[in-house]
């Protein structure tokens, strides 16, 4: 029996709000230290490490919107019949590096939602594409996130 209904599938194509953020030297430095970078350009905060955008555009959520396990329910994704997230992965195309002071605009879109049988039951997969551009509209990166729910 299919887990995903036509209503779930109708959300494919939904767009999240545009978010605009500035890559600050301080935040780049904090990210570089926390991830254990070795290269000076990252530790000095001049250039952002390749996955810095993950933190720059992670949702900053008020405490009362976190679930008891401390997780924010991504509003771009409809409420699905499976909710135990297994870590997924990222596929990122880079067009230019992010530097301290860059003003960036990101927007996410739910691009795929499907199910597959797993070894211990059905699994739901979804894909979200995030486009990150400069404030002037030049592409910076394109990231596809794949998540698996069981």
């Amino acid at each position: 029996m299919a887990l995903l209904t036509p209503e779930h599938l109708s959300h494919i194509g939904d767009l999240g709000p545009q978010k605009q953020e500035i890559a600050t030297r301080r935040d780049i430095r904090k990210y570089a230290v926390a991830t254990g970078q070795a290269l000076t350009k990252y530790l000095d905060g001049d250039v952002a490490p390749p996955l810095y955008h993950v933190t720059l555009f992670w949702e900053v959520v008020e405490l009362n919107r976190l679930s008891p396990d401390g997780v924010y329910m991504d509003t771009l994704i409809p409420i699905l019949p499976l909710d135990r997230a297994m870590a997924g992965g990222l596929d990122i195309e880079y067009f230019q590096v992010i530097r301290a002071g860059d003003e960036l605009v990101a927007q996410r879109q739910l691009t795929a939602l499907y199910e597959k049988p797993g070894r211990s039951g059905p699994l739901i997969f979804y894909e979200v594409i995030m486009e990150v551009n400069t404030a002037a509209g030049e592409p910076v990166l394109r990231e596809k996130t794949t998540r698996i729910l069981r």
């Binding site: 935040d27 904090k30 990210y31 230290v33 926390a34 991830t35 254990g36 970078q37 070795a38 290269l39 490490p49 390749p50 996955l51 993950v54 933190t55 992670w58 949702e59 900053v60 959520v61 976190l66 396990d69 401390g70 997780v71 924010y72 870590a87 997924g88 992965g89 990222l90 596929d91 990122i92 195309e93 880079y94 794949t146």
Partner: protein
């Protein structure tokens, strides 16, 4: 850590040496704070073990993904450019484990300067916890 890679001196199959990582509570807290990730499995030991039944605090998946990019960027040097990067989290890792990043060259296009790399982070049991790939460009 390479400073100037020359594409003429590289060969398919050549290994890329990474680093060892032993994420502790402090690093895991700082990483999740920088991310604004409040998931208790990363800092609340009783919750992680008693409620979610993990053997310990779970190392954040994107942090291990970042270690793969470090493997690439530290090898690539100043002249190289990262064009594409993929990774997927396959096996959970926990505070106290020692993880090792590494890679190898799987293709070289000597006309464009593009190289395809296969990457992995493995644990002390030699299980691949996070595989990945990268496409990089060297000046020719």
């Amino acid at each position: 850590m390479s400073k100037s890679l020359r594409i003429s001196e590289l060969a398919v199959g050549e290994p890329i040496l990474g680093r060892q990582y032993a994420c502790d509570n402090v690093q895991l807290m700082l990483y999740n704070a920088s991310l604004w990730n409040g998931h208790r499995i990363h800092y609340d030991q009783p919750y992680a073990t008693e409620v979610e039944s993990y053997p310990g605090l779970v190392v954040a998946g994107p942090l291990i993904g970042d270690w793969l990019t470090q493997c690439v960027m530290e090898w690539l040097g100043a002249e190289g450019e990262l064009l594409r990067f993929t990774y997927s989290n396959r096996i959970a890792s926990y505070v106290g484990e020692t993880l090792t990043s590494s890679g190898r060259i799987i293709s070289i296009d000597r006309d464009s300067g593009d190289l395809e790399l296969e990457l992995r982070v493995h644990n002390q049991n030699d299980e691949v916890v996070v595989p990945g790939t990268a496409r990089v460009r060297l000046s020719i």
